[in-house]
């Protein structure tokens, strides 16, 4: 089934919240996920990998050049922030979802003026400054998201939903009023 990018991003945001990702990182992940679906849809399954966590503060080495292990959701934004601060190279070791990191990098290049590229080596990614980052082609139309990925995201998102109760129904919009006027 084809999905609009907006509904995909909305679900990604809720799924990230349901997975326990801290607020703010949820937004960065959702936007990166949208970008990933529009540019590299074959890697959609990495969205679920990225949300598996753990979503704990990324572990930066004492010299500030390595993050290990690198959970994309937490390590990606930190690494890009450090690059924007002037770091010339950051190594992300044992990355769980490299496509998500690449999507975050592309957005940082497009929107925050970062000039950097990602070089993969096994499960590691090195972010390094460059002159002209290669930007993937952004397809603006609806995207096909594998059913398993979409359902996995919905399952995570459902952790944020609150079931209705009699009390909440009575307090909700339109409760108790007739609409046949």
């Amino acid at each position: 089934m084809k999905r609009s990018l907006t509904e995909a991003e909305a679900l990604l945001l809720k799924a990230a919240r349901g997975a326990g990702v801290p607020a703010g990182h949820t937004d960065d992940f959702a936007r990166a996920g949208r970008y990933l679906l529009a540019t590299d849809p074959q890697a959609a399954d990495q969205l679920l990998l990225a949300l598996a966590g753990p979503h704990v503060p990324a572990s930066l080495s004492d010299d500030g050049k390595t993050i290990a292990p690198a959970c994309a959701v937490m390590a990606g934004p930190l690494a890009l922030d450090l690059m924007i601060c002037g770091a010339s190279r950051i190594v992300l070791q044992d990355v769980d979802a490299p496509a998500v990191v690449r999507a975050m990098l592309a957005l940082a290049c497009a929107e925050r003026g970062l000039l950097a590229q990602a070089v993969a080596s096994g499960r590691d990614i090195t972010l390094a400054r460059c002159v002209a980052p290669a930007m993937p082609v952004f397809h603006g139309g609806h995207v096909k998201v594998p059913v398993a990925v979409w359902e996995g995201l919905e399952t995570l998102a459902a952790r944020t939903f609150v079931p209705a109760t009699l009390a909440s129904r009575l307090a909700g919009a339109g409760a108790g009023l007739t609409d046949n006027d």
């Binding site: 089934m1 084809k2 999905r3 609009s4 990018l5 907006t6 509904e7 809720k14 919240r17 801290p22 607020a23 703010g24 990182h25 949820t26 937004d27 960065d28 936007r31 979503h55 503060p57 990324a58 930066l60 937490m74 934004p77 930190l78 922030d81 450090l82 924007i84 601060c85 002037g86 929107e111 925050r112 603006g140 139309g141 609806h142 459902a158 952790r159 944020t160 939903f161 609150v162 079931p163 209705a164 109760t165 009390a167 909440s168 307090a171 909700g172 919009a173 339109g174 409760a175 009023l177 609409d179 046949n180 006027d181």
Partner: protein, 550 residues
Amino acid sequence: MMLDDFAPPPQVALRPPSDVMRLRRMGASFPTRLSFLRTLMRTLADDKAVVRRTVWAMSDTGFGHAVYTLSLGGYDYALVAVSTDLPPEMRTDRVIATAWDTSYVLYDGIPDATEIARIVASAPLQEAARFTERELVLSRANKSVRLFEHVTASLRAGRQPDPKMIREVGYLMRTTAVYGNGKFGIADRMRIADRPGLAGPFMAEMLTVWLIRGFTHDLAEHVGQGKLDLATKRYLGIGNATGLGMAPFLVSHPLLLDAWMQVRETAIARVRAVAALSPVQIERIYELTARAAQHLAEWDVSDPIAAGRIATLRREWPAFAATLTPDVLLGAQPMDAIMTGSSVFSIDCQELIASLCLEPFGDLIDGLTDCMATPFEPQIDPTMSCGTLLDMISRDWTWACSVDYTGPAEAQFWYVSEEKQEPRLGNRHTEDGSERESPLDIARQVKALAADLQGQSGPVAMFLGAHPQHRNALRRVQTLDRHPYAEIRDNLIGDTCLPIDMLRCKLAFFGAAKFDPKSDRWTRITLAQGAPLWDELAQPDDWWLPVAAV
């Protein structure tokens, strides 16, 4: 041509966000000439848009479908309207409804018979169906049963409907949702964001509402086998029932909120800088003041708080009108004098005065509406020092950091309902679910950020690495520094937070009037009341605060 030719008009200082971005004042918003529906009407007029009804497949009792087409900015669009025989017990405005009197799609292009059949089958299902990128807007509306039946019965009897009923209700149907931007598989906004006429915020949705309004007129005349007189048709807008679904939007779109507010406040600032008024402008101000008085007289609601505010407005308005003396209007910077003098009145009166002050100055301010859309998203500046960030919080967030978030100050929590995946507001102390709270508690988040920033140094990038839980709050603080109207400066989880204030602010920007709150979390409104009919676009713009001519 010299660069000086493009110097912006003079303006005074903008009203400060510390005043403007308080919920109580946002909840007193009135529509202005900068509202989206007003902008749409001017755009349609400039483009000489013509609406054509190309399909009318309705039974005598008004069930079936219709198609209307128009061209705008070089693109064709069509409204496909479906009218369904709805059992009364299924009629509800709540978002949990599963069937409606009418359903609609705004289609990108001119649909052929196959597309029309597909839409006729799927539109009545609304969220239960999937749509394509050719659908730009999805909507549904229920009849105001009492009025619809009265109007059609009157027409069948060869007479016009009772003017009192027309004035009391003001619409034949109420939309209960107008979905755009990718929901349920319809087109993402980016598909139309660069198109002339639809680039502004919610333009596709407003176009849909205006077309639906015309359809409701056609349907009533068809079922009633008669013609409504023009004054009645103009007065019949489209009702709308808006609940909490819309409320978080202002929080989750800070740059858009800032853009809307900056445009409106800049317009007010320009108008206040006007050195002197022409006789035509003075006459217009008197005319609009009288119209506003009549509008207030026709605005009746049942909610006691809203009724009280309207009563205050009705009492204050003559006193305000009395201030519009020749000395003031012929004096220097008369609009500034009016705005300054408005501070003696209630907040609601102040905002009505601000709205009136904009009305005569289309040439000066209408161009600002081009700045109401923004493609940007808030970004973090990781190079900022912790000290600078803390200074920003001290400067801009005292209203948030001075609150003790216990008891009443954290009485409410925002969440997403399992039933319909829609926003809800719960009582933290009496309802379950607060552990799944949505992060709309911006003020509380910023206070927590400020606490952990104490004694920190170096770039915020390192701080965020160690304290990732503050990423959202930090982005909000930095955003507010560059976009001073981006934040609602009130505690959105406190017991005094009234979501109706958030709804009213956004709806006023849409162009809604006749706010009729039914609780503190949902309201009925009227859109496009007094707006030009389809063949009246030659005079698109004189319908601020419409009054009944019936």
